[in-house]
């Protein structure tokens, strides 16, 4: 009140001043303008930041929540699930994902999406963090040039992330066994890769397994590497004792594949990516020389095939060249018999060098023709299949092919498919035939006549015996008594005090004396041979005997 006292005259210009201010645009309008600019800038920012939208179909929406579930790549959030709806046919769940602007690569046609949930399996535990945070969607961008809006989500995480270095290979096998996606691949018992996919072969006659070998170990996959199924435990009993071999505990439970190059592979090169290999049953077959293409043959046997089973070996001169694949019965209306038809596959390459030489000689034509011609030649020279006993205890049979020069000629039909190999009866069969012949001969012997004759003879014999008993025996008794008497007499004659014995003793003494006299005489004569002529002289020794017959013999001596 004290300072500011304006004169009332200023009132008149004051009013126009106010009016002039009214006409001016107030600065306060800056506030809504700034607000508008902020809002607009946010809208534009958002608009620019809105990335592409993709729709991913999953089998189930388990763990997914609209506007909450995030999409992550390497644990970085790249988008959010904005909507979850059922597909029209209600078989799938369609999750709409709003990707960030920076995540445009994730619209490439080969991008993969999968739901990360806690997983506990033989290969390990994964996704534990999702136990607390809930599931999220994992993504892996591809490399394709094209982009897509619709994707099919994977049910399991892809085992190999995009851009990982290594090579993929295809394995062919008859059945999958216990292999699964993620099954390990071993090289010298070190895990170097895993199974990434499998599918039935296009013709349904096998399984194609796709494997991934991580770099740098992919260089060990050579063009002639052999893959085998390393699942489970191999137990073998040999001369060296019991041998158990496995790859690893994981592979026992969940299967696995191992590979190795053969010991001798001079010109093996590292295999190209997507090269195809065969998956063998086990290591032994895998590392065996390659069998080559099997050839199907058929044999007809007119005998029981009991004991011949599928997979029984087929021998050629003792070399295992194939196996039996089927054992069937046929009916032959002509003979009204049931011949057994045995189908087998043979691997000509198992003959090794022989096969090569045979093919050289067989001349041109494709392999099929060659094989037909070679076999034709063999059959002409007496090649016959025969069923033999492999094991006497179990009665296991095998098919043996041998040359039998004496075999009757059989027409060989080179056009027949499968090729037919003529057969001869088995070794046991022959034995059986011989036995049969023997038994037949036995059967031809007239046993009845023989028995009748024998009967007559026996009656005759009986009669004779009766005669012997009635007449001969009493006489024999008399004779024996006589003999006894004779022996008693002889006994008495020869006893010590019998006169005959005494006389014999005296006679012996007489003989002794005589012998002594003869000696004296001979002594005398040897000293005095002249006494034979002149008689005894004085100096001659006294002797009591005169020479008799012996003196004549001595006489010529002095004459000489």
């Amino acid at each position: 009140m004290s300072e500011n006292t304006l004169p009332p005259s200023t009132q008149a210009p004051g009013r126009p001043q106010v009016k002039a201010r009214k006409a001016r645009i107030s600065l306060v309008w800056l506030v809504p303008i700034v607000a508008g600019v902020i809002g607009l800038s946010m809208v534009i920012h958002d608009f620019l930041n809105v990335g592409p939208k993709v729709v991913v179909s999953f089998l189930t929406a388990e763990g997914l929540e609209a506007k909450k579930t995030q999409v992550k790549y390497k644990n970085v959030v790249i988008g959010t699930v904005t909507d979850i709806a059922l597909s029209e046919d209600r078989t799938h769940v369609l999750a709409t994902i709003e990707l960030n602007q920076s995540a445009t690569p994730f619209t490439r046609a080969d991008t993969q999406y999968w739901v990360v949930r806690p997983r506990i399996g033989a290969h390990g535990v994964s996704g534990v963090d999702t136990l607390l945070s809930g599931a999220f969607i994992g993504a892996d961008a591809g490399s394709s040039e094209e982009t897509r809006k619709d994707f099919t989500g994977l049910e399991t995480p892809p085992p190999v992330t995009f851009g990982e270095k290594g090579k993929r290979f295809i394995l062919h096998t008859d059945d999958l066994g216990s292999l699964d996606i993620g099954s390990p691949i071993y090289f010298r018992r070190i895990q170097v890769g895993q199974v990434v996919a499998y599918e039935l072969a296009k013709d349904g006659k096998g399984v194609d397994i796709e494997i991934f070998i991580n770099s740098p170990n992919d260089q060990y996959v050579l063009t002639d590497s052999r893959f085998w199924n390393a699942s489970g435990v191999d137990v073998s009993i040999g001369a060296a004792g019991l041998k158990v071999s496995t790859q690893s505990l994981t592979s026992i439970i969940s299967g696995g594949i191992a590979f190795r190059e053969p010991k001798y592979s001079p010109d093996a090169k590292p295999a190209d990516s997507n090269a195809e290999f065969k998956l063998f049953e086990d290591q032994a077959t895998a590392l065996a020389p390659p069998d080559g293409d099997p050839k199907y043959i058929r044999m007809r046997f007119n005998q029981s095939l009991r004991g011949l089973v599928v997979n029984a070996p087929v021998d050629f001169l003792g070399v295992n060249i194939g196996r039996v694949v089927s054992v069937d019965l046929d009916y032959d209306p002509a003979t009204r018999t049931f011949p057994g038809v045995v189908g087998a596959v043979i691997y000509p390459q198992r003959l090794g060098a022989a096969n090569d030489k045979l093919r050289e000689q067989a001349g041109g034509g494709d392999e099929e023709e060659q094989t037909t011609r070679i076999l034709g030649g063999f059959v002409e020279r007496g090649l016959r299949a025969q069923i033999r006993t492999g094991n006497l205890l179990t009665g296991q049979l095998y098919v043996a092919m041998d040359f039998d020069p004496k075999a009757p000629k059989i027409a060989y039909n080179p056009k027949a498919r499968p090729l037919e190999i003529p057969t001869v009866g088995g070794s046991f069969d022959k034995l059986q035939e011989q036995l049969q012949a023997f038994v037949d001969k036995l059967g031809k012997i007239p046993i009845d006549d023989l028995a009748n004759n024998l009967n007559g003879s026996l009656i005759e014999l009986q009669k004779t015996m009766k005669n012997v008993n009635g007449q001969v025996l009493p006489q024999v008794t008399g004779t024996l008594q006589q003999a006894q008497k004779t022996i008693g007499a002889a006994n008495a004659t020869l006893s010590d005090d019998s006169p005959a014995r005494l006389q014999l003793g005296q006679a012996m003494e007489e003989v002794q004396r005589t012998a002594r006299s003869v000696r004296v005489l001979t002594d005398f004569l040897s000293r005095h041979p002249e006494s034979l002529i002149r008689g005894r002289t004085g100096d001659a020794a006294p002797g009591s005997y005169k020479g008799s017959s012996s003196s004549r013999e001595i006489a010529p001596e002095p004459a000489q």
């Binding site: 309008w29 506030v31 809504p32």
Partner: protein, 204 residues
């Protein structure tokens, strides 16, 4: 209308701050030295400006999330309405209604009432003038209660920080919501309720 004379007719002006009755031609209050106007200067334009700014801010305040909660690893962002719906679906009707009133209803009422007041004043409408001024007082009164939401978020975000188990963070939406409240408060402040009564006389 009811024969109460206007200050202008007595050639006096009321100081806005201390309520001192100044002579008509004063520009500064002799007692408290604040500027003296017969009416709040540029009231209508300012109110409109703040109101429009508030309305603009109200859009992001409702569309952007105000709160980010992580509870045992499950993270979620909530806007104001989604929070209300969540509480309602969870069975807490009372809390849901409270939040709804404080965060949605009150700002809306403020926009409507202020807009209506401005519109009627510009049209110099003489309809229900006493009720309209009562509405204005009501608006001024409830204005700052809308800040409740902002306070709650600020408090909770500061208190709930159990790393790993559960955390709550404020998000951009709450800033805009706060701006909405501030803007509406400014709008209410810059509105001069005496303009309601000016409709009775020809010239302002």
């Amino acid at each position: 209308m009811n024969g109460i004379p206007f200050a202008r007719e007595r050639n006096v002006t009321l100081c806005h701050v201390c309520g001192y009755v100044c002579p008509d031609d004063t520009h500064v209050c002799p007692r408290c030295e604040s500027a003296v106007h017969t009416r709040k200067p540029n009231s209508m334009a300012r109110t409109w400006a703040f109101l429009i700014a508030g309305l603009i801010f109200y859009i992001p305040a409702n569309t952007l999330p105000v709160m980010f909660t992580t509870l045992l690893g499950s993270a979620s962002e909530n806007t104001i309405m989604s929070g209300v719906i969540e509480f309602a679906e969870g069975g807490s009707w009372d809390i849901a209604i409270l939040i709804f009133i404080a965060s949605v209803l009150v700002p809306c009422i403020k926009f409507l009432v202020l807009g209506m007041l401005l519109y009627t004043c510009q049209r110099r409408s003489q309809w229900a003038m006493r009720e309209r001024s009562r509405l204005y007082r009501f608006i001024e009164l409830i204005g700052y209660w809308s800040m409740l939401d902002v306070l709650v978020v600020a408090l909770v975000a500061a208190l709930v920080q159990f790393r790993g188990l559960s955390t709550i963070e404020p998000r951009l939406g709450i800033l805009f919501f706060g701006l909405v409240v501030v803007m509406t408060m400014f709008a209410a402040m810059s509105f001069d309720p005496r303009l309601i009564w000016d409709a009775e006389v020809e010239d302002v």
